[in-house]
């Protein structure tokens, strides 16, 4: 059976070789944090990391990924949801409907690993994901918060975190 290295584990599946990685993750491995938005690598909702690089998994045949290549999905980005990008996202209330945000976060994490202090042009070039709710300015602000060391006050949004369901 084909094997994939996902979030630090070797997992097997029985999908046909031409099945896109997206659908193997979602339907064979139960990792539904990675989203289907277009199926043609336009929207970026399906973005995962393969060996650290952002990849649109909806057009990547599962068989084209070798067991030696490390796939990381949103579920594996951090153990406790506390990757600096996730923390900045929560602090600035970036998501609206949230459907595109797994892909946004994975794209942003890859960008910041590659360029810890990205310029606006770097952000524009790397963050080509579509968000129909229009969270772009908070996405940009959150990336800058991470780049500046993680203090959300630097974004100037003054969001009060006092509820159980949110992280300060």
């Amino acid at each position: 059976m084909p094997q994939l290295n996902v979030n630090g584990r070797m997992l097997t599946h029985d999908a046909e070789p031409d099945t896109p990685l997206l659908w193997v993750l979602r339907e064979q491995l139960g990792l539904t944090g990675t989203k289907y938005g277009c199926g043609v690598a336009q929207c970026g909702s399906c973005t995962v990391h393969i060996d650290g690089a952002p990849v649109r998994s909806c057009v990547m045949p599962a068989a084209a990924v070798q067991p030696s290549q490390k796939i990381v999905t949103i579920e594996g980005l951090s153990a406790q949801g506390d990757h600096p990008v996730q923390k900045a996202w929560a602090a600035l209330d970036v998501p609206q409907c949230g459907f595109c945000q797994s892909g946004m976060i994975m794209a942003a994490a890859a960008l910041l690993k590659d360029k810890p202090k990205p310029s606006d042009a770097d952000i524009d070039a790397a963050m080509t994901n579509i968000c129909r709710c229009g969270t772009y300015n908070r996405v940009r602000a959150a990336i800058k918060v991470v780049a500046a060391g993680g203090d959300p006050r630097s974004a100037g949004l003054d969001i009060q975190h006092i509820a159980a369901g949110s992280k300060a």
């Binding site: 209330d93 709710c133 369901g165």
Partner: protein, 730 residues
């Protein structure tokens, strides 16, 4: 590294198949599933550990209404916000309890403004009962007790208890019928920039959207519906699909669609794609967008039209005017393009052993009650034998107020009794089977006197009616009142902000075969483009400053004017905008009133010699009366520019041979990060009313930018989208 084996069968079968890979089933089951504590009333459950569950009837689709409504309940409840969580009651529970939660429909920016009164009362009633329970226990008058963050104190003796300790006793009390709501000046949670309650799970992948639902034994369905609206399914060769791996069944759905059911969606989809299907395209097989344009154009001068707003005698005033200005505008069909495509999971359980048949649906819907009615109709079962579990929406924008995909899912599930089936539309299905932004054209004629004063305005709208398609019972004497959004004389919902001595706004209804729907902003979108760009045209034609002309015409509309003045002042109207990257920057204005709120925008754009247009900065103001959560209102304002400018720049669904030509984001583009301008939001609630915030700002996005483009280039764009026009200098 450990090696785990998780086969699909294990995963789809019993829960938590292997090791620490978490694949448990979290099956949403509606209210009262979270714990054993009795509800204090319909809106409030208090757990023994003082955790407060607030019930939310409206749907969360990103607009933040879940948090805003919880703030309103918690404000009156006086509970500890840090211990608040929320849950959805189900439409079936609402039906069984005589609609105790009121309307579930979430559209028209109504979530907060139309339920604020009764949800606040729900919180106040629960507080009254909880305090009464403590007072009864202490045998003191409740007036001697005070409450803060869920802790009740008897002021005389300083005895204390908490909501969690008295909740069971409170639940047994009779609810008071009269409660007094707080004066807004005493609000502690409402008006605060509180973080949303639903953010963290959206950053970890844990948020379950409709498409993500896992149920034991779940199968998946892909569907093909006739690409031409009004066409029919002629034939299909199911043997081809049934030979493919994982395929369980091929199902005819209604008279226009066929679905393949398989163990996984990808196998269902690919089998469906391999299966030969023949269509009868029907009477619309040769229709194109150009045909619609001709029909609408004829309506601009038709004798018969329905009046939406009028004063004076426009025809006489135009005939006697010293000068007339005329322009024709047009707005295209557009798809909502929610990031999550339409989907629903349906389970049909046949009658057995005395239990009646049952049909359950899990789906992201903006209208739970309409979804329940659709399940009843599609299953043929009485509503008490049906249920809908609302799942989180990956975008709504009006599309998910309809239930067409739910009826399909039920029809498929009926063919597989006892098995839950999840129907997922592909992006192509979603693009070609939308409920499109209606198309209209508008002819505007202004009459001017010798001094350049506007003496008359006639707006003739020709085009599509949403109500005629979706709620024909609400079209009376040929009038669809929603057509006139933003152009009404009074009413508090969507009022024109100008006064003209002679005004006529009328509508010649022309309905093409493409199904229309409520599309975020609805008819306010194009009406505001028509009026705000035309006001700009009058200003330039008469040599007046666009702000000065508006101020003259808006003297009797102080709230409209206040938001306009706010953006003009913040943007620095009257002083030149600083160059950006060596390009001169130009400004444009727009204002409107819709969904109960007053909004305005000032856009700053540059256009280079090659015609490349860039929106650099937007200043936007909203007066929504009461502002429940300003940071979320700002998020809605920003998002409105992404949605509204995507529409203005790219949004167009064209029809060829009866079918929508655009099938995915490559041909129906949306704005991305690079095109997104800076947005400075001014939230300026003036009190005394409740306006919506999810939609009105969409309407000012396009005209503010179009007016700035005119300032930059002298080119007046009257037909959207902008991608069809060159801004290159001649």
């Amino acid at each position: 590294m450990n090696t785990f084996e998780v086969t699909r069968r294990e995963f789809l079968g019993t829960a938590a198949a292997a090791g620490s890979l978490v694949v448990g089933f979290a099956v949403p089951q509606g209210a009262a599933a979270q714990g054993a504590a009795p509800e204090v009333n319909a809106w409030v459950v208090v757990q023994p550990d003082d955790r407060v569950i607030i019930r939310i009837a409206r749907s969360e689709m990103g607009q933040g209404t879940l948090t805003g409504l919880a703030q309103l309940v918690a404000e009156e409840l006086e509970c500890d916000w840090a211990r608040v969580t929320t849950e959805y009651p189900t439409p079936g529970q609402n039906l069984a309890r005589n609609r105790v939660w009121g309307n579930f429909s979430t559209g028209g920016s109504r979530g907060i403004r139309e339920s604020q009164d009764y949800v606040r009362k729900g919180g106040a009633i629960a507080r009254t009962m909880l305090v009464q329970a403590a007072a009864d226990e202490w045998k003191v008058p409740p007036a001697e007790c005070r409450v803060d963050k869920g802790v009740i104190t008897h002021t005389g003796t300083n005895r204390r208890t908490s909501y969690g300790k008295v909740a069971t006793a409170a639940a047994r009390l009779t609810a008071p019928t009269e409660v007094t709501l707080k004066d807004p000046k005493d609000w502690k949670l409402v008006g605060k920039r509180l973080a949303r309650l639903d953010t963290v799970d959206k950053t970890t992948g844990r948020q379950v959207y409709g498409m993500d639902l896992k149920l034991p034994g779940l199968l998946n369905a892909a569907i093909k519906d006739c690409p031409v609206f009004g066409g029919k399914l002629k034939s299909f060769d199911e043997t081809v699909a049934l030979k493919r791996p994982g395929v369980k069944k091929v199902v005819r759905v209604g008279d226009s669609a066929v679905a393949v059911v398989a163990d996984t969606w990808w196998r269902a989809r690919t089998a469906l794609d391999a299966m030969p299907v023949e269509w009868d395209y029907g009477p619309n097989a040769k229709v194109s967008s150009a045909d619609f344009a001709q029909v609408l154009k004829a309506g601009l001068d038709a004798d018969n039209a329905v009046v939406g707003n009028s004063n004076g005698d426009v025809r006489a005033a135009l005939a006697g005017a010293a000068r007339r200005i005329e322009a024709v505008y047009a707005y295209p069909h557009q798809n909502h393009a929610t990031m999550e495509t339409m989907n629903a999971t349906a389970k049909w359980t046949p009658a057995s052993g005395g239990s009646p048949a049952r049909c359950e649906v899990w789906t992201p819907t903006q209208n739970g009650e309409a979804a329940l009615a659709a399940v009843g109709a599609a299953s043929g079962l009485p509503l008490p034998q049906c249920e809908v579990y609302k799942l989180h929406l990956g975008g709504g924008f009006g599309r998910r107020g309809q239930s067409d995909w739910i009826r399909q899912a039920v029809a498929i599930a009926k063919e597989l009794p006892g098995t839950p089936v999840k129907l997922i539309w592909s992006r192509e299905d979603d693009m070609q089977h939308g409920a499109y932004h209606p198309i209209t054209q508008c002819k505007l004629q202004a009459g001017l006197d010798a001094q350049g004063n506007v003496t008359a305005l006639h707006m003739r709208i020709s085009g599509q009616s949403i109500l005629a398609a979706l709620f024909p019972q609400n079209v009376r004497d040929g009038k669809d009142p929603v057509v006139f959004q933003g152009l009404n004389n009074g009413g508090g919902e969507a009022m024109i902000g100008y006064s003209f001595p002679n005004l006529l706004v009328d509508h010649a209804m022309r309905n093409p075969h493409v199904p229309p729907g409520f599309w975020r902003g609805v008819n306010l979108n194009q009406n505001t483009i028509y009026l705000e760009c035309f006001i700009d045209e009058i200003a330039h034609a008469t040599g007046q400053d666009p702000l000065a002309l508006r101020r003259k015409l808006m003297a009797q509309h102080p709230k409209h004017l206040a938001v306009l003045n706010a953006v003009a002042e913040r943007a620095g109207w009257g002083k030149p905008a600083p160059d950006v990257g060596g390009q001169k920057v130009y400004r444009g204005l727009a204002q409107t009133h819709g969904f109960g709120s007053y909004v305005a925008a000032c856009a700053e754009v540059s256009v280079d010699a090659g015609g490349e247009m860039k929106v650099h900065r937007i200043v936007a103001a909203t007066d929504c009366g009461h502002a429940v959560n300003p940071q979320q209102i700002e998020a809605q304002i920003e998002g409105s520019f992404a949605y509204g400018l995507s529409a203005a720049l790219y949004g167009e669904c064209t029809v060829k041979d009866g079918a929508i030509e655009q099938k995915n984001f490559d041909t129906y583009p949306a704005m991305r990060m690079q095109q997104m301008p800076k947005v400075e939001s001014i939230v300026m609630p003036s009190g005394g009313f409740w306006g919506g915030v999810g939609e009105p700002t969409i309407a000012v996005a396009a005209p503010a930018v179009l007016n700035a483009i005119f300032a930059a280039t002298g080119k007046r764009i009257r037909e959207l989208p902008l991608k069809n026009h060159s801004l290159k200098r001649a």
